[in-house]
């Protein structure tokens, strides 16, 4: 049974997922954004759909005291192992994208005097260290991260306030309906946080349904706010360039500094490594469940270094541009955050196979 002390609190889970989502929003701006206002509307409209997507996972933990990856581990071992493997592969892929993007943008924008190999290694090792801690520590760190993120948004917003114009919120597109739908799909495509919710729900104290509701509302507000700031200052076509929020931060001045991109850098790196640590931690948990003999530190090391090793050749070969602009598909997100939990929930209700699998959560 997982120690209660090591479980995430509801607030910790929400903060962790918000940091993960915010990093994705700050880094992977959708290139198909034709209208900022419609995109924000799409984000808001997608919110209830995302809530419905993670509701089965929240209810699964409520009834079974276990999460999607471990429920029915004894009843259906093959299916359970397949689900765990699917989660592991997903987290590895997300970690690959995250570590690669962190390193790519590091020397693309920030002129850091370090070779890319060293940058990747530093990120990976920092994530391994974070992943080796308890889940509760990850939540607490994310709370710090979110506080820093909100302060950064406030500082950048305040500094760019005089450049904001309401007229930049236009709906000058030919097909508003398809733009809205694209926006919803694009937002869902970037919501790896939903998969993380379904995985970590079983390791969270308190009411997961309430946590899901609060998370979705907070996410919609945060991401909508980020897009609103970028649109208000830079306009709807800001997404055509890389890291538009960096451009916004560079244009933001205040009483002490000429630009706020340094603040953005610190918070962006912090959020990125928190996301990387969370992904590595979740991957390590999957690895521990698949291979019981493996220890947490070894699992974290393997899961942390593998994506970095995979990303290096692409980075050194200057091929990361293709990955940045690729929309990597809704299917894994929908499958792992919704389809799998709802299937388990339905199967459990229909066959009355509710059992207390909390003993399976050994670590």
């Amino acid at each position: 049974m997982i120690n209660e002390k090591n479980k995430l609190t509801g607030a910790g889970l929400i903060c962790l997922l918000l940091v993960v989502r915010a990093f994705s929003a700050l880094t992977f701006f959708p290139t198909n954004m034709h209208s900022g206002l419609l995109f924000i509307a799409g984000i808001l409209l997608a919110a209830p759909i995302h809530f419905m997507m993670i509701l089965p996972a929240a209810k699964l933990t409520k009834y079974n005291k276990a999460d999607t990856s471990t429920v029915y581990a004894e009843a259906w071992p093959f299916i359970s192992k397949s689900v765990k493997s699917a989660y592991l592969l997903y987290f590895l892929y997300e970690a690959f994208l995250t570590v690669g993007s962190l390193s790519y943008f590091m020397d693309y924008f920030f002129s850091v005097d370090m070779p890319r190999v060293l940058t990747v290694l530093c990120f990976a090792l920092a994530a391994v260290y974070g992943a080796g801690q308890q889940t509760s520590a990850l939540g607490r760190t994310a709370q710090f991260g979110l506080a820093g993120l909100l302060l950064m948004l406030l500082a950048v917003g305040a500094g760019a306030a005089e450049d904001m114009q309401i007229t930049r919120f236009d709906v000058a597109v030919s097909d508003q309906k398809s733009v809205l739908i694209n926006a919803m799909l694009s937002d869902t495509d970037r919501c790896g946080c939903l998969v993380m919710f379904s995985f970590l729900a079983g390791r969270t104290k308190g009411d997961n349904v309430a946590a899901a509701r609060r998370f979705i509302v907070a996410k919609a507000a945060l991401i909508g706010g980020i897009f609103a700031m970028v649109t208000a200052v830079l306009g709807s076509y800001a997404a055509r360039c890389k890291l538009p929020f960096f451009t916004l931060a560079a244009a933001s001045e205040n009483l002490i500094t000429e630009r706020s991109d340094a603040v953005f850098l610190v918070v962006w790196v912090f959020s990125g490594v928190v996301k990387l640590s969370a992904l590595t931690h979740c991957g390590a948990l999957c690895a521990e469940q698949l291979i019981p003999r493996i220890k947490r530190t070894s699992a974290a090391l393997v899961v942390g270094l593998l994506p970095a090793a995979a990303a290096l050749p692409v980075l050194l070969g200057y091929g990361w541009d293709r990955l940045i602009s690729a929309e990597y598909g809704l299917v894994p997100n929908v499958l792992l955050s919704f389809a799998v939990p709802v299937s388990f929930l339905a199967a459990g209700r229909s066959k009355h196979k509710f059992s207390d699998n909390s003993a399976v959560l050994q670590k």
């Binding site: 002390k5 609190t9 607030a11 910790g12 590091m106 920030f110 002129s111 850091v112 005097d113 370090m114 940058t119 530093c122 990120f123 920092a126 260290y129 974070g130 801690q133 308890q134 509760s136 520590a137 990850l138 939540g139 607490r140 760190t141 709370q143 710090f144 991260g145 500094t257 000429e258 630009r259 340094a262 850098l265 610190v266 918070v267 962006w268 790196v269 912090f270 490594v273 928190v274 640590s277």
Partner: protein, 489 residues
């Protein structure tokens, strides 16, 4: 016997014959020059008074032991009546024990007891008439406050216990006495308030203390690794050491546990949280608004002490565009004139500062002023004029050093941390600062001590006690009991 532990003495008992006992004791003590042995004959019954030079009070020994025994010498008294008089009669002292084991007897002698051994009885009656030299209760040296008490703990365990008892006149205040140190047999006291402290934690602490296998315990640092659960993992100590009785009593009231070590003028408080390092007694003797301002100043001092040199190195080296133009031109001109890279300059100045600080601590007070003059005027001024270091850098290091003295309990951690941040900022810019900050936050967030998260009560968020982190609630609000270790049941 196998020196130097003499553990087998605990199984060696006194004999009925006085001469045999005296021979046994002299052999154990190796005819030590500080062992005093006075033999008195009272109506044909031999009686020996044993003590260690300088440990027992000569005056009390005269009044409470020699005088009554001398008075007895003129009376007709049997051996049994003599022994009863010594063991139960009018030889008065606050602490009186009868022992029959050599090991226990030597322990009491070395603790300042005087022992009376009567011929024909296989036991010694020990009287607690300690008179060893001890320092008087004096001003606190490292935790000074503007208002509040001026007393501090000293090296005597009993005195320290009384300083706490005087302030907390509740029968719920408990002191548990232990001994640790195979050679030193140091007395340790664990203090807590019954009903406030977690009983499980009290038990664990006592067990950890009793399991210490060290030869000597000479100060609190010796036992910290045994009771600090995060000693080898966390950068910051999850125990706080204080020399102030009022701070110790406030901690007891919050459900914390104190550990006193005989011979150490301070006590250890546990479990503590990170925010406890920012609270002082001055906060509770001022108005809430100023207390809150003072609290925030400490947080700012922490950030300055840790981040300022590293941030300076990062921004000047990698991100100069952040600075306003006028400041940038001044910084560029200053740094252009110096021969070394900025990170080397900063590291050099910080290390030099630590050397001077260490010299200031070790030097006699009479010479200490000279160190300040040498450090401040000669080295600082001369270094700038000769072009070795830049003036803005000297300001940065000066602010950093001053800020770190605001938090004495964190000084050692801050000294190391700022060097790490200087390297991270100087080599990796803000990227390095961000990564190291994250590692630091992970380190703080992962420390859990006896069920209390080190980031409590901020994370996990507990409203009860949360206010005391950022401001000092008004005393009517403090009537509801508050504690920072709020997440434990």
């Amino acid at each position: 016997m196998n020196p130097p532990y003499f553990e087998e003495l605990n199984g060696t008992h006194l004999e009925n014959d006085l001469n045999t006992n005296l021979l046994l004791i002299s052999t154990v003590l190796g005819d030590s020059a500080d062992f005093n042995k006075i033999i008195i004959n009272i109506n044909g019954t031999g009686c020996a008074v044993l003590s260690i030079e300088g440990m027992a009070s000569t005056q009390l020994m005269g009044e409470l032991i020699y005088q009554p025994l001398t008075d007895l010498a003129v009376q007709k008294i049997t051996r049994e009546e003599l022994h009863r008089f010594v063991a139960e009669g009018s030889l008065m002292s606050a602490d009186r024990q009868s022992v029959d084991q050599i090991g226990k007897l030597t322990e009491l002698l070395f603790s300042g007891f005087a022992a009376v051994v009567t011929d024909g009885f296989a036991e010694a009656v020990c009287f607690g008439i300690q008179g060893f030299e001890k320092r008087a209760v004096s001003l606190p040296e490292t935790e000074q406050t503007i208002s509040g008490a001026r007393d501090s703990f000293n090296e005597s365990l009993r005195t320290n216990m009384s300083l706490v008892r005087r302030r907390l006149k509740t029968p719920a205040l408990r002191f548990k006495l232990l001994q640790a140190g195979k050679l030193s047999r140091t007395d340790i006291s664990v203090a807590y308030i019954e009903g406030r402290a977690d009983p499980e934690t009290v038990d664990i602490v006592q067990q950890e203390l009793m399991s210490i296998e060290l030869d000597t315990l000479l100060n609190s640092g010796y036992i910290m690794p045994f009771i600090d659960r995060t000693y080898g993992q966390s950068f910051f100590s999850a125990l706080i050491v204080t020399e102030r009785p009022d701070v110790a009593c406030a901690a007891l009231n919050e459900g914390k546990i104190l550990v006193f070590i005989d011979g150490t003028p301070e006590c250890i408080m546990l479990p503590t949280v990170f925010a406890d390092n920012f609270r002082t007694m001055d906060d509770y003797s001022q108005k809430p608004l100023f207390a809150a301002f003072s609290r925030w100043l400490k947080y700012l001092a922490f950030l300055l002490a840790v981040f300022l040199p590293g941030l300076y190195a990062a921004l000047v080296t990698f991100h100069p565009e952040v600075f306003p133009l006028k400041l940038l031109l001044n910084l560029a001109a200053a740094e252009e004139a110096t021969p070394y890279p900025l990170v080397v300059e900063i590291a050099l100045l910080l290390v030099l500062f630590e050397v001077m600080r260490e010299a200031g601590v070790r030097l006699p007070k009479a010479v200490g002023g000279a160190v300040s003059i040498v450090g401040g005027l000669i080295i600082g001024d001369a270094a700038v004029k000769s072009g070795l270091v830049s003036q803005p850098l000297l300001i940065v290091v000066g602010i950093t050093a001053t800020a770190s003295f605001v938090l004495p309990s964190l000084y050692s951690s801050l000294s190391l941390l700022r060097l790490i941040f200087v390297l991270a900022g100087g080599l990796g810019g803000l990227y390095g600062i961000a990564v190291v900050s994250l590692l630091l936050v992970f380190n703080i967030a992962s420390a859990d001590q006896y069920g209390a998260a080190f980031t409590s009560p901020l994370m996990p968020l507990k409203t009860h006690g949360f206010g005391d982190i950022f401001f000092r609630p008004d005393f009517p609000a403090l009537q509801t009991r508050h504690t920072t270790i709020a997440d434990r049941k």
